[in-house]
Amino acid sequence: MPLPLSYNLKNLTVRKTTTLMTALGIGLTVAVLLGILALVGGLDKALQATGHPLHLLVMRKNSLSELVSQINREAVSSIRNKPGIQQLDGEPMVSPEIVTVINLPRHNSPDGANVNIRGLPPMGIRMRSNLKLIEGRWFRPGQREVVVGKSIARRYVNAGVGDRLRFGRGDWNVVGVLDAGNTAFDSEIWVGLNQLATDSNRMEVLSSVLVRASDPVSLQALQNAVADDQRLYLEGKREVDYYLEQTNSAEPVKFLGIFVAVIMAVGSCFAAMNTMYAAVARRAREIGTLRVLGFSGGSILLAFMIESLLLSLLGGLIGVLLVLPLHGLESGIGNNLTFSETGFDFRLSPAIVAAGVGFASIMGLLGGLLPARGAARESILSALREL
């Protein structure tokens, strides 16, 4: 039978300062890891959830993003006439769009950051059925009006309804705010297609054409038809795949964060090890006594491992508490494909919290293993003779 848990708990509470210092060290490591995971989780959520499963995004062949893609307007007619396109009110669900990038001042960064402007026809809005206008109204054709994503409205200067944004050839009235459910569209500014084409002098050249297929089989057929049409030199990409590929923009941050967390974890392991070695040394006679009473080396090993685990779980809890204020915090990260910023919320999901606590437990178990093993293996006599 193992030693009672109260034995471990009391030993930890008796050494309050040491326990807290070690737990804090582990907690900081967990906080760094959780912060990174919350960032990556938020960004993944923003990008992975974007797109409709039946949407095909047509761009120029080998274009990595809409921003660098160029499509002549004549190609739109050709695409519109392909079979397998879903109809809405007798109209094919096809949306020719222009995507460009501008610099806007941000509340906490006067130098500003790049933001995507998307020019699209009314059909383009109707095709994004999962977004809703949370404030104001949609822009009117022929007017210098824009609707901003909610992330833009919150984080950029003069981006609220009633404000005026200055880009291109002049000012634009902000008439609405859209909520795209924490997807990438929340980080865009939408305007009428022709208004943007005129303003950016791109009357003949579009960025992409969004097409909705009538079913998954038609989607594949449509994708093949676009790729096989030698006149167009275009390719279709599933919209969900297109945004999924952009999650790669978070990879360097993820790598760096995990790298830092791992280095800190090694340090925290040593801190836990140091604490546990000190505990074993201080309690050598106690260990000897327990062995004389009949507790096996295995019981002693287990007791010290449990103590180390409790210590690290406390650290994990501290780490979670430290990082909890980040949950829901809005931020943005530069996207190396769109050359603009993608806004996202830090998301501290239960899975991420569990990962942090698990990470802390591993640190505790690794840190406690050698001291516990030493305690279990020490001969009873030499333990009893320790002062």
Binding site: Y7, K10, V14, T289, R291, V292, L293, G294, S296, L381
Partner: protein, 233 residues
Amino acid sequence: MVNDLVVEATDLHKEFQRDAFQVIALQDVHLTVQKGEFVAFMGPSGSGKSSLLYIIAAIDRPTRGRVKVLGRDLLQLKERAMADWRNENIGFIFQTFNLIPVLTARENVELPLLLTHLSRQERAEHAATALGLVGLSDRMDHYPRQLSGGQEQRVAIARAIVSDPSIILADEPTGDLDAQSAQEILTILSRLNRDHGKTILMVTHDPHAARHASKIRYLEKGQLLPEGAPQPE
């Protein structure tokens, strides 16, 4: 009577390495202890008293020789079996009490019972009984730091007897106590021997303590002097 032999040690020899030196702790020790005896072992420091006690307690093993305690050849036991055997058969009392400082008197006394199949309720009852036997019923929830030295040693005695072992081994149980506390401890040990039939083997430097034993054996330079031999100079 052979059946009443509790300890039967033959040709016990114990050597150990201390730094560069080979130390002989015991040599050619022959010892028998009858059931119900109270034996005191005396001798100068380094004479091998504690080494003999640790071997009988299955805490240490002899370099050579045989030792049977309660009919069990201790050298045949593996590490884990020795731990179980100690728990079932031996109550050990240390000079420095060796109580677990973060546990209360009751929790300390209950420790050996955690290795038995007793329920929580039964463990609590046994611990209360043992503490009552040493006169500490009113100190059960005290921590060791809240007790005097004599009280700590009485808790240690309660811990030693709580699992009702056949043998109680005491290594200088009065060595760290004042005269009055020492007398209380010796009185308890005498009572355990006389009233409860416990076999007690006690190492001591104190002739007064030794007088409570029914038999005194002397050790000198690792050798057990013959029974009835006078105390060495």
